[in-house]
Symmetry: D2
Subunit: 332 residues, 4 copies
């Protein structure tokens, strides 16, 4: 039984999940990976810094900063909570920009990755549509811009199957011509667990790497490729069937494992490591086809809510003139 661990490490796009997998059930701290957790009002914020090469290798994530908001109750439809999450996201994103040295004057290009025709992949385009765009005013009437508005442009480049062109090539063409200081790329992610879907937001300063997100990107959006800082905002909107299965096996293990002869119930499935088990599941599922990516059936509504949260938060974080009292005026 060959275990191609490399392959499965992409099964989650969340650094937090990678870290948890690497830590195992004992939650052993990982050298080179610093963590800071805060929780209030049902919103858990985890600030992860992958500081060393060793830390990076241990969790299979690039060196960089990762902030994750987890809000398990987000799918409950409480609009008060939604607003709170949006404000927390705005606060964290603003701090994130400052921490990595991006000033208030930097001009921004927001890139909404994904396919607007595939609901769980439409997060990026939806955020673009609700972002407060100002670059045209800077070009056409620079003298008349009120204070408090930063120069922001945005693009939803579509997906390779619809355009025939890699998103990163389109973005690079636009970067060459419009010279933004920073890219903020929004992407729908895959998660290991159904519960994370549309309840978790990840901010990272490592850009978008090939193979991450839902679509099959072959080239990424990174500082190396584009020459400017690339911040990625991701929300899990799908998960793989294999990770669901694996999750359940893990839960079974915990469920029966309390002082009981789990091995009797689960056989070898009890013994092997999580990675090995995932591999096993994958070996079984593979022949069924590539499309075993699933999403909750209410995805249409969830995706609108989360896109609105991200766009409102971005508008507030990027423009001083936008605050919780008027942020609603800029989204649909």
């Amino acid at each position: 039984m060959s275990l191609d661990l490399q392959l499965y490490s992409v099964r989650t796009d969340l650094a937090l999940e990678s870290k948890e997998m690497a830590q195992g059930p004992q939650r052993t701290p990982i050298p080179g990976v610093n963590e800071e957790v805060e929780e209030a009002d049902g919103i858990k914020v985890t600030r992860l810094a992958v500081a060393t090469e060793a830390g990076s290798q241990a969790i299979g994530r690039a060196i960089g900063n990762y902030v994750t908001l987890e809000v398990p109750a987000l799918r409950g439809g409480d609009s008060g909570l939604q607003q709170k999450v949006s404000e927390t996201f705005a606060y964290e994103f603003e701090r994130f920009l400052l921490r990595i040295g991006i000033g208030k004057e930097s001009s921004i290009l927001i890139v909404g990755l994904g396919n607007w025709n595939v609901t769980p992949d439409s997060l990026g385009p939806l955020v673009v549509e609700n972002s407060l765009i100002t670059r045209q005013f800077y070009e056409l009437m620079p003298d008349q811009i009120s204070p408090g508005y930063r120069k922001v442009s945005a693009i939803a480049p579509g997906v390779l199957g619809l355009t025939g062109i890699e998103s990163s090539e389109i973005v690079q063409g636009i970067v060459d011509r419009t010279k933004p200081d920073v890219i903020i790329a929004i992407d729908a992610l895959a998660s290991r667990s159904l519960e994370r879907i549309n309840t978790t937001i990840q901010i990272a300063d490592i850009g978008i790497h090939p193979g991450s997100g839902i679509g099959n990107k072959r080239r990424g959006l990174t500082r190396e490729i584009l020459g400017i800082p690339c911040i990625a905002i991701g929300v899990p909107t799908v998960c793989y069937a294999s990770t669901i299965v694996n999750n359940v096996l893990e839960m079974m293990k915990n469920h029966f494992g309390q002082g009981a002869p789990t091995k009797e119930i689960m056989g070898m499935l009890d013994d092997i490591s999580e990675q090995e088990r995932l591999s096993l599941v994958k070996e079984v599922l593979e022949p069924l086809g590539h499309d075993l990516i699933v999403t909750p059936k209410e995805i249409d509504e969830f995706i609108e809510v989360i896109a609105n949260i991200v766009a409102s938060g971005l508008n507030e974080a990027l423009h001083d003139a936008v605050d919780p009292d008027n942020v609603g005026a800029y989204t649909h």
Copy 2:
């Protein structure tokens, strides 16, 4: 470990799957359940007749006729195949009507169940929109109707959460006032396997029963309630996470079971019956919430294709004047 088998028997809305579960891996024939299978051009047609109370109990399905079309390749996007499926469906549906004694003059009310805002639940409303409706002409200008068109009306009654009224109550109100001879109800179903999603169509003369389909119906659409024959057309568009997990365990069993000590690998999971295992999985998954209904991420496109197939097939089956050459003119 208490196994509430009753509960899980609703996990599939397909009679074919119920039968397969009841038969077990040996495919033992079930007394009182007659089966006829035909396969051509990648389309498998199974005509199931649950003829006796014993047969009904054995597979947990009402006495009645069930025709199932299975087309595994349907999600591949081949429009030639789509047309072939539509024609086969039209042919089978026309025969089905005749077999259960519904003549060419019977007037029809098509009921599109489900929620048009939730993509995997929007099959019914989509079929309604693409159905050829003629009742208004029968009311307004009965003398001018060309031969070959039957009297057809349609309604998408919405879902309880949006209307506050049970679909069946809305339908009954309409039946009382417009007096159709027969109801054809279209509904999105839950299946046991992801592969069946949008590749399988079931026709049944047992109406819609409470608890079936995606939504939580408390009253059904049946001959007993409405006083006229109710034919149900269903397409699986979601499946439960628990059934996916269970499926994989079954596949594992088969995968390793060929002459190998499966028990070693899977422990008790190898021994217990499918129903028990499903129960076990469910016991573990339950605490996660009720929303573990999943759908493939490309559902937006799949649902349009299958709705078009069903609507075209219906139009062709119901109106003699509609045939493969002009059927496209009536759908969008």
Copy 3:
């Protein structure tokens, strides 16, 4: 030149416009039609009472109460103004219910008329989707309903072309079975002027009459037909090309008419009455077809905004527990 005035009186669905047309440019008061105007924050509220048969004949409107909100700036995209309009609408609607004797305990059926596939005709279905529906809780768990929520159900019955059944027949079937005390019908209207489109809301206690609204209704939704009070809420979303043309001719007359020999410029078009001129325009336009109903190109966005205003206002007016601070939680 035969002037079929009857025909053209349907060219506006707004009582306010009918009254203005009847008054002529001199704004002569009309006996039997009482008017009360209030204006604040850019919102003009006109409360019109057509009290006598003579008044009804003079303006071509049924005896009854009409409240109109006019907000010319509404299409400007100011979300603060949108909220203000929603609150004003809620306030006026609540007063309207009390004035015509509908108490806080009356159960309501909201009817969203129109076709959800035709953007300017989708107002009704959109309002239904954003209404706070409670009837199901009254049916399923009457003891657990918090105070401040009225019994409300809703239906979007579709249009004759899609269902083959008159909206009024569907509604009557539902009324027979669910016994609401009052109907509130939402409909998209035709106006005489493009500027009124999506900037005006009309409330009336006369129900929906055949031929009003965008679709071609042959039967209405009125107290006479349904046996319960029918309140109509309408928003103009289209206008006829002929009324645009006529409007411009009128404006020309005013434009050049200040002490100038208008007759020289406009010939007979200057002399004839508005009704005659409209007839003339119509005589010319008729041969072009029936589809000369036009709408602004940005209708997609406008319609969402106004549907949200009406739904929020309704939710607030119908349920004491809904107020400006939490109203957003009930709409999408």
Copy 4:
């Protein structure tokens, strides 16, 4: 009364209408403008060549080739006619490419201009979505491409208000990086008459000029700017209120003008030239705002039909392997 003719000459984007306006009611031939008309099956094809500077000045159009398909019955919903138009369009477009020297091997970038959120402006993005895209296969697996497929990519760059970047800048960035041989730009146009809306298709080899189409483009897509041939495909989907009014006045003139004293009826409106009258109308309408662009209320359905016709036609014209029998397989 100052007549700013320059301003109004942009009121139509159709060369055919410009020519007709320049010709006047006598249809005087215009030197330097050659015309070839063919009509069959209810489809009128006009091939216009603006050959000289004088011809260009006379009709206010750039020197170049224009092919226009007019199909008055197209909005009737006849799917047989739709297919015929698609085939005629494919035939004309293929000939057009050859005539202007674009060979079968040239690689193409299709640019879908416009805003996908504004229905009448969504033609371009809709065509992009239904175009057969192959460039990714040329990049990833050049050896495995079947004969008969040309290298085609596509982009819907969005509109300035949503992106903050001119469409032409985005396109130029993509051209720089992907080096297509030819651009085909699809754009929604404004027409002088409501009847032309979604019934007329224009092909031109002059690219997209600033100010043309629905959006307010400040830079164009032309050979001068992009360095490669730019073919424009346009469909009128809106018209200006002022042109409707003007049209009606013209019709009135013709209506009453047959041997009657029109001047008596229409005064000066009878005397002045079409351009002057349009100016007059505009002077009156201007104060009402900029949004007096109107579209038929059924635009949602019309736009889907015409986008499908254009996309199918393009697929057939660009790829030899696509023909009338399989063209449906490539559009949605």
